[in-house]
């Protein structure tokens, strides 16, 4: 229980939490004080002066801004006196005299704090007869955000969000007096991964996003609470629709997860849902390529072909972009109907499923707020899990010590107390030195000894041995007061693993080796093949060699995303039969014999599980495109054609079945999520212990020795099919470049901007970067120009004659 103080507001005594700002304390007891610059998640600036109240002092009542004033015991406050009312009317009049009042064509009109507060607290009429201030309107401040300075009330929210929250100090005030305006710095656009938050924060229509301008009026919008599927943080979002289409995604303040913030990818990727390139009808390969077919014909074909193989000859790859219910249905379908344990939601790009899904002790995201030390060993959070990056930034702002280890510079380096840099491929060596506090690593090691520690552990890039993360997790685990979060990044991968979409996991965090649970599951399902199945890499190898014959691809693009694109290509070409559930024809699904149009995020409902194990609701906000269907409904039909009743036609039935048979999900019913968790979701298991608890140990991983080792990190804006189909952000995709330490560059020899070839096939310009350790090269994965490059641990790099 936090300390309380007693304050008196308008003659009524209240006990409120100590240490709060008066405006927050007043609101907590139902006294709403108007405001523009105040925002719960930003440091107070006291600029707008809208929140003035009278506070009793030694010299009588004094007007004070309630957003900067901390409550103190015995404080006597008047929020309704004549003086206060006059000040409020005065401030609103001042804000309005130069305001363009173009509300009828303003995107904010109808949801505008300036309009609303003018209605409630403003003067009735205008006394201003002078000429208004004029600015060119609107001006772009970035590729996605426009600024109308005439509407701006100079509340400083956007500047603070960019500076303090995002760490991108790219907006500023310029000029003074009546000419003050928000601006970017010359030749430096507001290119921030978090720029869209400013649009949502802006209390007027000064900041608008290019994709929503003039699209809808707020009172016509439909609202659906859901979570973002851009990464495994699962930020809470309000998916907003107009005339059956998604038009805007806003962040919801889920303080356990995203605190209202979104990355621009979370915010702007939704337009891909309505892409004209969506697959909207079943496609069956004919003599001249794909031909449209009816669902019944296409499913009959799939059922008869899949029914014609021995279970082990078939495998399924994917399911990470689906809901838990869809993933569960896929696992049940493959195991109990097809009779195969060959299933994998990861593409050889992730971690040991036992580590990711069942690591102990597992941290929650908000454990970061309580950590003395945060240790990151893994991908660049800014590029891969941007909202988690914000949470780490916040923890560091509030005093946590940050230790970052990575093979090249990351977004967090600037605020890290200790940066441990290792040459790609030699992590094991450095980890050992670092763990034993060798020379040069004493400071970092010391920080780790100061608990509580939260370790964020993952695979820095596809080129890194996944055992490296396990070794790092082992080090964290060996610390006395430590918890772990693993860093898989793809959408609902944690839900997929929890539903058993892994060769060594059964639904509910159960090992395939756990006979007791396997028996129980067999009772429920009727049939269950025992033992461990094949991973994606093994399946691709077996398909290529002919040892396996058919493949079910579920929203997965192994030709793009697995470490060896060439192998994936050969495997899919060699397969006798491939059925793809997909929303797009991708580099992988193009090899399918049948493509079944998949309903996607925004079109399906169910639940999903994020990287901390939090289960939240996912809700459909629009109807599926064309004839697209959810995976569980389609598989239910196909199973029927194969003579089995999966009982998966209705999502709620599946949710209940999961709660019944998946031990870690015991008790998670739809009602539970909606009514008993404030909508913020719940961590599973709710009660009791999960059957499998993976305990990482310190293992040794071989060190790669070769001329140039490869660091192959993911970029937020890549050439992935969703990014490509979201016009707002498609243009932001990263270009291929080879980052080299100047010393290595001089040996090739190449200069900044010269062209190099990698593995004799991939050509790209050189960028010199002294955060890259000598002896390694950094190339962004899955961007135009690196598509198809194998994530091997070392690469051959040559200067290209006649380069720039």
């Amino acid at each position: 229980m936090p300390d309380t103080v007693s304050i008196n507001i308008n003659g009524v005594a209240h006990d409120v939490e100590a240490g709060q700002r008066l405006i927050v304390a007043a609101e907590s007891v139902g006294e709403v004080i108007p405001r523009f610059c105040h925002h719960d998640k930003l440091e107070p600036v006291g600029k707008c002066r809208m929140c003035l109240v009278e506070v009793e002092g030694p010299r009588g009542k004094v007007l004070m801004p309630s957003c900067t004033l901390l409550v103190s015991d015995g404080m006597v406050v008047d929020t309704e006196s004549a003086v206060v009312k006059k000040a409020q009317e005065g401030v609103l009049e001042f804000l309005l005299i130069n305001h363009p009042l173009d509300c009828p064509i303003c995107d904010k009109g109808g949801e505008c704090p300036l309009q609303d507060q003018t209605m409630q607290w403003g003067p009735g009429e205008s006394r201003f007869v002078e000429a208004k201030r004029n600015f060119e309107k609107p001006i772009p401040v970035s590729d996605v955000v426009l600024l109308d300075r005439e509407r701006c009330v100079l509340c400083d929210r956007c500047v603070r969000a960019a500076d303090d929250i995002a760490g991108d100090p790219l907006l500023t005030f310029i000029d003074r007096g009546n000419h003050v305006q928000i601006q970017t710095f010359p030749n430096e656009p507001f290119s921030s991964y978090f720029s869209g938050n400013t649009v949502q924060l802006c209390p007027v229509g000064a900041l608008t996003s290019v994709d929503y301008r003039f699209k809808a009026r707020p009172w016509d919008l439909g609202h659906t609470r859901s979570v973002s599927f851009v990464d495994t943080v699962h930020s809470s979002v309000d998916a907003q629709t107009s005339r059956g289409k998604l038009v805007r995604v806003y962040g919801i303040e889920n303080d356990r997860v995203n605190e209202g913030w979104l990355s621009d990818k979370d915010r702007f990727i939704f337009s891909a849902v309505h892409s004209p390139d969506r697959v909207t009808a079943p496609l069956v390969r004919g003599d001249d390529g794909f031909e449209e077919a009816s669902w019944s014909d296409a499913m009959a074909l799939v059922a008869s072909r899949l029914g014609g193989y021995l279970g082990g000859e078939v495998g399924a790859i994917g399911g990470a972009n689906n809901t838990n219910e869809e993933a569960y249905t896929l696992a049940k379908f493959m195991r109990s109907v097809v009779g195969s344990s060959n299933l994998d939601a990861q593409l050889g790009d992730g971690l040991n499923p036992h580590l990711a899904a069942t690591v102990t002790p597992r941290a929650t995201i908000d454990d970061l707020d309580r950590a003395a030390t945060i240790f990151v060993w893994g991908p660049d959070l800014k590029e891969t899990l941007p909202v988690l990056y914000l949470r780490v930034r916040k923890a560091v702002r509030n005093g946590a010590t940050l230790v970052v280890a990575s093979p090249a510079g990351t977004g967090l380096d600037a605020i890290a107390a200790h940066v441990v840099r290792y040459r790609a491929g030699s992590g094991s060596d450095v980890l050992r030195k670092f763990a034993s506090g060798d020379k040069g690593y004493e400071g970092a090691r010391e920080a780790l000894d100061a608990g509580p520690v939260v370790g964020l552990v993952g695979r820095s890039s596809l080129a890194e041995d996944p055992m490296m993360a396990e070794a790092a997790a082992g080090v964290v685990r060996s610390l006395p007061d430590s918890k772990l979060l693993t860093l898989l990044t793809r959408a609902n991968i944690y839900g997929a693993l929890d539903m058993g979409l892994a060769p060594n996991l059964l639904p509910g965090r159960v090992s395939t080796a756990d006979d007791e649970h396997a028996e129980m599951l067999e009772d429920a399902w009727g049939h269950l093949p025992r033992g461990t199945g094949r991973s994606t890499t093994q399946m691709l190898e077996d398909l290529a060699s002919g040892a396996m014959r058919a493949m079910v691809l579920v929203g997965a693009d192994p030709v793009r995303d697995c470490p060896d694109p060439g192998l994936a290509q050969r495997a899919l070409e060699a397969a006798e039969f491939v059925v793809a559930f997909d929303a797009f024809v991708t580099d992988s699904s193009i090899h399918a014999d049948v493509i079944l149009p998949a309903a996607v995020w925004g079109e399906v409902s169910g639940t999903a599980t994020n990287l901390e194990g939090r289960v939240q609701e996912v809700n459909a906000s629009v109807r599926p495109a064309g004839q697209a269907r959810s995976l569980n409904a389609a598989l239910d039909d196909i199973a029927h054609l194969m003579g089995v009743d999966l009982r998966a036609a209705k999502v709620a039935d599946v949710t209940r079945e999961i709660a019944a048979v998946a031990p870690a999900y015991a008790g998670i019913t739809p009602d539970h999520l909606t009514f008993e968790s404030d909508g913020d979701g719940v961590i599973v298991p709710l009660e009791g212990e999960q059957p499998l608890k993976f305990i990482p140990v310190e293992v040794s991983v071989p060190v790669v020795t070769s001329r140039l080792t490869l660091h192959f990190p993911d970029a937020l804006y890549d050439d992935g099919v969703w990014n490509r189909n979201a016009p707002t952000i498609a243009g932001l995709a990263r270009q291929a470049e080879a980052r080299l330490h100047p010393r290595d560059a001089s040996m090739l020899p190449v200069h900044e901007g010269d062209i190099v070839s990698i593995e004799e096939r991939f050509v790209m310009p050189v960028t010199l970067d002294d955060t890259v350790p000598v002896g390694s090269i950094v190339v962004p994965r899955n961007v135009v120009g690196t598509k198809g490059l194998t994530a091997s641990t070392s690469v051959k790099v040559e200067a290209v004659e006649g380069g720039a």
Binding site: I97, F173, G177
Partner: protein, 430 residues
């Protein structure tokens, strides 16, 4: 009894009072030697406290009391405010141009008293000559061992840095000044925390005006009580007044407070130009409410008495206006200054000052409306509720309320003159 402290040397030696030779020959750096050799830091601070000197930068806050608030964290800083940008003020300019060593000696003694080894002088950007002379004086003083490492072999070291402002009046406000010094936008900060606890780079910082610090050598040499004996009780010491406007002897005058305004204007200032009638005067710079002859001529030039009469001595800028003055034009000129100099962060100041400027311009243009006078007063009231003294504020710093002073003054004393400028005066009266 001493009647001048700060200007003695410059008057006696107008050609070279700024050089170290002249300074040392006329007793300079004796006070520093005394402090370092014979006094503990606390003893020096105690003398300043005993002197009862009140800050000369405008707010009149007792200097010893402010020093007592200085936080213990290290490092601590001394920042000398030489931004002097209020219309009508030019006394700091004379002090840095004509007697820079007096200021430097004050800085060295104050820093010693406060346990500070890093001092800054924030000099108004237009004061190029003053800054040059200060820099030369710093170099000379270092050379002679009065600044720098191990001053006079006492173990005490001090580094003094000059920073030239960029031409913004608001950077004279102490927290805006600190922001500017840190390379940020010159905007006043929220208080608390006060600079003495968290100032420059969030470290304990004393900000004092040039004139305040220039008195420290004399106080050190002669004792705080001797200083407190000069002038009336709560206005101890001498004060430099910059007298300008329609006066026969404009310029800086160092006076002992306690005389009447009549004595100041007619004796010290030599009376009104061309034998004209005195119409009004601004007692303490553009931000102070005006005084008029029939009410204020025989009141006293004393900090508290001026305050009790609804105005302030402020930074000591007395602007005299004779009968030829168009008071609306005068008020407009001042309001325009504040509107231009507002940092723009608070809504009432940013919007209200330029609105008032527009209204006054319209009245001067012959496009005034009868309701404009009430409107002006109400806009003022929304910036400084009640238009009381000392001013209440709806803003972060006092700049916004300052802009209401000329408006309230002309409405209070010259309403008929404003009304006479309204085109439809007759129509309204009929």
């Amino acid at each position: 009894m001493t009647d001048r402290i700060l200007t003695v040397r410059m008057e006696a030696h107008p050609s070279d009072s700024h050089t170290i030779d002249r300074y040392v020959k006329t007793g300079g750096y004796k006070a520093l030697r005394k402090a370092l050799k014979k006094m503990k830091p606390e003893a020096v601070a105690a003398e300043v406290n005993a002197s009862n000197i009140r800050g000369r930068g405008g707010a009149g806050f007792p200097m010893g009391v402010k020093w007592g608030f200085l936080g213990a964290a290290e490092p601590r800083y001394l920042v000398v405010n030489c931004d002097e940008s209020e219309p009508g003020t030019f006394n700091d300019r004379q002090l840095v141009e004509r007697d820079p060593h007096q200021l430097l000696e004050g800085i060295a003694i104050s820093s010693y008293a406060l346990g500070i080894s890093r001092a800054f002088i924030y000099v108004r950007g237009e004061y190029a000559r003053g800054a040059r002379r200060l820099q030369r004086a710093i170099d000379e003083a270092k050379e002679a061992g009065y600044l720098g490492e191990d001053i006079l072999s006492s173990g005490f070291s001090l580094d003094v840095t000059i920073h030239l402002g960029g031409g913004a009046y608001i950077c004279g406000e102490e927290t805006a000044l600190l922001n500017s010094l840190e390379g940020r936008r010159g905007e006043p900060r929220l208080k608390p925390p006060f600079p003495a606890i968290a100032g420059l780079y969030a470290k304990p910082t004393i900000v004092n005006n040039v004139e305040s610090i220039s008195n420290v050598p004399w106080i050190t040499l002669n004792g705080g009580l001797a200083y407190a004996d000069i002038g009336p009780d709560r206005s101890a010491g001498t004060k430099m007044l910059s007298i300008s406007g329609h006066i026969n002897k404009p310029g800086n005058h160092e006076i002992v407070m306690g005389m009447t305004w009549r004595e100041l204007i007619y004796d010290i200032g030599g009376g009104i130009r061309d034998g004209n009638e005195l119409k009004a005067w601004i007692p303490g710079g553009a931000s102070s409410p005006w005084f008029v002859p029939d009410k204020h001529l025989d009141t006293r030039v004393e900090l508290d008495e001026v305050g009790a009469n609804g105005s302030m001595i402020g930074a000591g800028a007395v602007v005299v206006m004779d009968e030829t003055t168009n008071v609306v034009a005068a008020a407009h000129s001042i309001v325009r200054f504040f509107a231009h100099e507002s940092c723009g962060q608070c809504t009432p100041c940013r919007e209200g000052t330029s609105w008032m400027e527009d209204i006054l311009a319209r009245i001067m243009d012959g496009r005034g409306r009868p309701e404009d006078i009430d409107l002006l007063m109400d806009v003022s009231d929304n910036i400084s509720p009640g238009l009381s003294w000392p001013p209440a504020m709806t803003t972060i710093c006092p700049l916004g309320p300052s802009a209401t002073a000329p408006v309230a003054s002309i409405v209070r004393y010259f309403r008929d003159e404003i009304e006479a400028m309204m085109p439809n005066k007759e129509a309204a009266n009929a």
